[in-house]
Amino acid sequence: MEKIYDLGIDVGSTTVKTVILLDGEILYTKYERHFSKVRETVAEQLKLISDKYPAAVFRTAITGSAGLGIAQASGIEFVQEVYSAFVAVNKRYPKTDVVVELGGEDAKIIFLTGGVEQRMNGSCAGGTGAFIDQMAQLLGVTADTLDEMSLKSTRLYPIASRCGVFAKSDIQPLLNQGAKKEDIAASIFQAVVDQTVSGLAQGRRIEGNVLFLGGPLSFLKGLRRAFTQTLGLDEEHANFPELAPCFMAYGCALRANELSKPMSIDETLDKIVNAKTSDNIVTGRPLFRDREEYVEFTHRHKQSDLKYADIRTYEGDAYLGIDAGSTTTKLVLITPDGGLLYQHYCSSKGQPLDIIASKLEEIYTIANPKLRIKASAVTGYGEELIKSGLGIDYGIVETVAHYKAAEFFCPDVDFIIDIGGQDIKCFKIKNHAIDSIMLNEACSSGCGSFIQTFAQAMGYEIADFATLGLFAKAPVELGSRCTVFMNSSVKQAQKDGASVEDISAGLSSSIIKNAVYKVIRAKSIDELGTNIVVQGGTFLNDAVLRSFELELGRNVIRPAIAGLMGAFGCALFAKEKSKNTDGISGVLNLEQLKDFAYNSMQAQCKGCTAHCNLTIIRFSDGRRYVSGNRCERGAGIKLENKTENMFEYKLNKLYSYGERKPAGTPRARVGLPMTLSYYDMLPFFHTLFTELGFEVVLSDESTRDTYYKGQHTIPSDTVCYPAKLAHGHIIDLLEKGVDFIFYPCMSYNIDEGQADNHYNCPVVAYYPELLKANIPELNDANFISPYLDINYKRNTAHNLAKVLKPYGVTEKQIMLKLNAAYTEQVRYKKSNEQKALEIIREARSKGQRIIVLAGRPYHVDKEINHGIHKLITSLGFAVVTEDSVAALVDAPPIDVLNQWTYHARLYRAAEYVCRNKDMQLVQLVSFGCGIDAVTTDEVRAILEEKGKLYTQLKIDEITNLGAAKIRLRSLAAALEEKETNEERSRTAV
């Protein structure tokens, strides 16, 4: 009888795997990258098989995330990929308890014992093979080298892995600060593990016999090590099968045996080659109607070019500008009238310090000896390091640099948009000063580098890839959200048969849509004004530029040096600043450069309990540079006469309640978790319990470890970070051995008046329910969580008495003690208000500006605010909080339903800021806070109506404050500029 083989084809997001079985025995396996040419690669693989097994008969099935389209179009059986894994595991490793599979762009966990359950990463999850590739690229190495490096690591840094963009913003500053690549490599793998454990397992522990599958886990030793160590598995329980990369294809072949009809290999091949693609791609208009239009376009943009001057012959003053950006380093040297003497643009790949030093040397070597660098300035992520390392004269914030440069090309510029490697910055200009700044949030950044990554993934150079899109006939609509989502949109388009040209054009347009819809969010184009300047390396891509013009429906100005504008602006700034001086720049000269060397070391700051991770760089001439610190202490600077910081005051005040103990022997030890609503209501509950004779135990201050402690019990990975921390606090209290934890559910907060209602947000109100359902150690006895509305005293006493019965407390006793609790709550509030007034007075006496750092009560938690308040004070501001000033004014007229107590304070704080000339408001927003989607727009409207600047800082588990720093410094710079302008106009009158 003729032999019938079983063929499994696994079409993943990056690879095609094929496995052939005969009577269940594996005869053949193959693993091949497809570079997004899915169908071609599958066909090639089948041809190989056809050569090897000519005219043989196969039962074939397809599996994999990219396989569905092909299967449907060709009529070959499809097997869901997790199901394939399931079949294969049952056959080969029936004793397995849990399967962890990391693929190119997806991550999955299958729990096999104790209730079969399958988990896949959501649409917002990184932590996969593609994530690792992306990170390797960021470090300028291959994934294999990354793996080797990781094995030599000595320490780990916290890196967010929820999405590649987050991780980048953690890694880049580490690189810029000179952290060791080996350590970063290991940290990347650890981040992937953390992501899998918290994001996917979500409350179920990964234990027993664990089978690890998928490409990354079979090729990367460092990743395997990180997994086994974190999960605490020994060799016997951690199984890395040799077959891992092709495991799904194996399961698929097993299924094919049951499902599929036998067919000759050529017939199968035929079906795949001739499969009709479905036509459900949405397409947009072409970028250019014809060549002429393109010619007109290029001609128009040629007009915004610079003059060039020859560095070899030029004599006289010159100005140096450096932009040490997140992914690229830019450097220009200009003449006083803006002639370009020298330019350099390259990828940062690790250490910008080395690149700039070598380019400086080059400048000195080729320049005319009579060229004199009169002044220099630097901007960007690497600003401080470069400034101190190379003796640059000025350091300025990016926004200012970009504005200076744009103004040079268009003195009446109204609107500037800069799309760089990782960020989008937009600013409106009013009266020759930056009026409002819009930056992308961490989740949608990575815009420019995204196209680049994609070009590389498809096997093109970025420039070629972009050009392809220019004349695409039917650009694909890819959506406009974050890059991770775009990724799957692109995959879908490819599956549906879109050409590379159409995808290239589609990517350009989606970057623009992302900017227009998500960052600028202009209601109408007229809001942007008439003169729009675009810049940043991404706009050198004509397809992106054209998409922007089409989206806006108007022409914009793109300087030919769009990618160098930051550096150019620095040079102009240096020129402006040194106008009235005769000196020369302090930048290192050729001799000094030749001796230039540095080494970096890691240390932990002992200045306070935050224990910032410091990177200390020592230069050859003995100077040193410290980074990673959040306040001046880490840098070894002592500040005299510091104005008190409201954030610190509040936190200390709250924890000081922990020291109060009841008189006599306590009835029992009650644990109060320092989380969410307790940051507001602690004085009330603490006083009540202490008065009732309980010993109150508070959970320890949050740290990163608090998060890790509770990580495995978090069921929803998109909930806000403050809520995620609650899990760790509960576990901390359990470890402290309290008799019970008290954490009430409160639909309603205290009614502070002047609002439509006084709700808590759903998460704050009901998080205890979630904790109880997801932390296995909790039960009705050790976790007491009544529903309370403390606006009603008698009812509160009644409900408390019901749950505290086991401890012999009566309603009457509670009634007696409640007054003390209410009084303490009021006293706490009043003392905050007093303190705020004191701080304001003191700041005014010193001429300091004041910032109302407005968020939620729990934002005083150090692990939540990451020390942003310290950053603000280090910029010379005094800090007060929203709740401490809200009561000073009435609620302003607003256009939303004002129904949450915490949020009502924001509106009143904004109103208060409007009434004080020396105040500004900075709003802290926790990532994932849905309610702030309502409040932020309203707070902004209140402030902007009165001519105030609005600054919003989004915070998450990311500890990197780079983006926050840019915003805050821009705010400071804008305020200064505004003041100078006002003075100028006053003196002019």
Binding site: S123, G203, P762, Y766, A773, D789
Partner: protein, 421 residues
């Protein structure tokens, strides 16, 4: 509010009030949430002289308009509703000087209560003349030109009852129909009939007679006897029902060979009605409104009992869950004090579905939905503990999530559902 001198709304957002005058010749646009129910409601309002129209625009431009005109972290339903309105106003299909918008409002502690404000903000610059009307039972934004009278309320309730019945029968027939399209035809016929009844004085109140006729007609449809997996759909109210929001999940499930089981809108109405009653129990605050709600709840619950009874009498179709039973089901996992968004109802529905043999459950939610962190994702662990065979998948919907990704996850769930045990 004590301080009436203080202006409530700013001048930043222009508001136009819907007046008696406008009633004559304005078209009121209604967002696309529950096609069957809303079409009945529109017919009911026609009886009182309002001209309403259900929006059915579902093109990509709806999402783009939504993204452009709403905060992008606002929930997906808000974004879609606003996108649909903006697209309609800009399309030229309507005279913007003769158009008003209608949106429902619950007044709970969820973001959803703010939709109407977000809509006003979104249209304020371009279409300040367009009034936005609130449809609610909590006395928010009273408007004499759009009152909540007893006759109107009655018709709204009956629209919900018949809408639920038709949705239930459709879902239980469509997957098994032998003649393609026959269920849709029958549904259309009934929609027309009930719609006409809504225009009559009181015949629409003869629920028993009408239910029986419906049941008879649907039972008479030629259907196959196949055994198809039943898949429950629970979740945030808009995403759960709106084909625009959930990429037509209902049809997708049917095409995948499943029978969708979507709990009715009456559950949500009862849930809202029970809210004040639950609060009264928890916090001991009873007002006149509490008593009114208690009466309302009893009336509505009787309606549900009647519907269940009629379905059971016939014995062909699977009746909806008894609401009191849902409340008991909820009590096993959480307090009914969880009242924001869909609150405890989602947990209860998941548990009730698992209990009655619909073990495959899709929990739909807008990306980052706040209450759902607690009541949906947060409770699936304990529900699975109670029903180890429960096969629950949470699907997030948002403007960037692709259909493929969502369908892939659902398919994974279905693969598990069909797995030979």
């Amino acid at each position: 509010m004590s301080d009436k001198l203080q202006k409530q709304y700013s001048d930043r957002v222009k508001r136009t009030t819907f007046t008696e005058e406008m009633k004559k010749d304005y078209t009121i646009l209604v967002p696309d949430m529950l096609p069957i129910h809303f079409n009945l409601i529109i017919k009911a309002y026609a009886h009182f002289g309002y001209k309403m129209e259900l929006l059915t625009n579902r093109e990509r431009v709806v999402i783009d308009e939504g993204l452009k005109n709403t905060h992008n972290d606002a929930c997906y339903p808000a974004l879609l509703v606003i996108g649909q309105f903006m697209e309609a106003l800009k399309s030229g299909r309507y005279d913007v000087n003769k158009t008003a918008l209608l949106i429902s409002q619950t007044g709970g502690g969820c973001r959803a209560s703010n939709y109407i404000y977000l809509i006003r903000k979104a249209i304020s610059t371009e279409f300040p003349q367009v009034p936005v009307i609130s449809l609610n039972f909590s006395g928010l934004e009273p408007n004499p030109a759009f009152p909540m009278t007893i006759p109107i309320i009655m018709r709204l309730i009956y629209s919900v009852l018949y809408g639920d019945m038709l949705m239930l029968l459709y879902n239980q027939c469509k997957p098994y129909e032998l003649e393609a399209g026959s269920t849709d035809k029958l549904l259309a016929r009934w929609e027309h009939r009930v719609g006409k009844l809504m225009g009559e004085k009181s015949r629409f109140m003869q629920t028993k007679r009408i239910y029986r006729a419906m049941l008879r007609d649907f039972a008479a449809l030629p259907r196959s006897k196949e055994n198809k997996p039943r898949v429950g759909i629970v979740g945030e109210i808009y995403v759960k029902y709106s084909p625009l929001a959930n990429n037509d999940l209902n049809s997708f499930l049917i095409s995948e060979g499943c029978e969708p089981n979507v709990p009715g809108l009456l559950d949500f109405v009862l849930y809202c009605a029970s809210d004040l009653i639950n609060d009264a129990g928890l916090y001991d605050i009873k007002t006149m409104r509490t008593y009114a709600y208690m009466i309302g709840y009893d009336v509505l619950y009787k309606f549900q009992k009647e519907q269940i009874k009629v379905i059971e009498e016939q014995g062909v179709f699977f009746p909806p869950h008894d609401f009191e039973h849902l409340r008991e089901a909820a009590d096993k996992y959480m307090n009914q004090g969880v009242k924001m968004g869909e609150g405890w109802l989602i947990t209860a529905e998941m548990a009730a579905l698992a209990e009655t043999g619909t073990e495959n459950i899709i929990c739909t939610q807008p990306f980052g939905c706040l209450p759902n962190h607690i009541v949906a994702k947060g409770m699936s662990r304990v529900i699975k503990q109670a029903y180890p065979n429960a096969n629950i998948v949470a699907i997030d919907y948002d403007p960037g999530a692709t259909k493929v990704n969502q369908e892939n996850r659902i398919k994974l769930m279905l693969a598990n559902a069909r797995k030979p045990q």
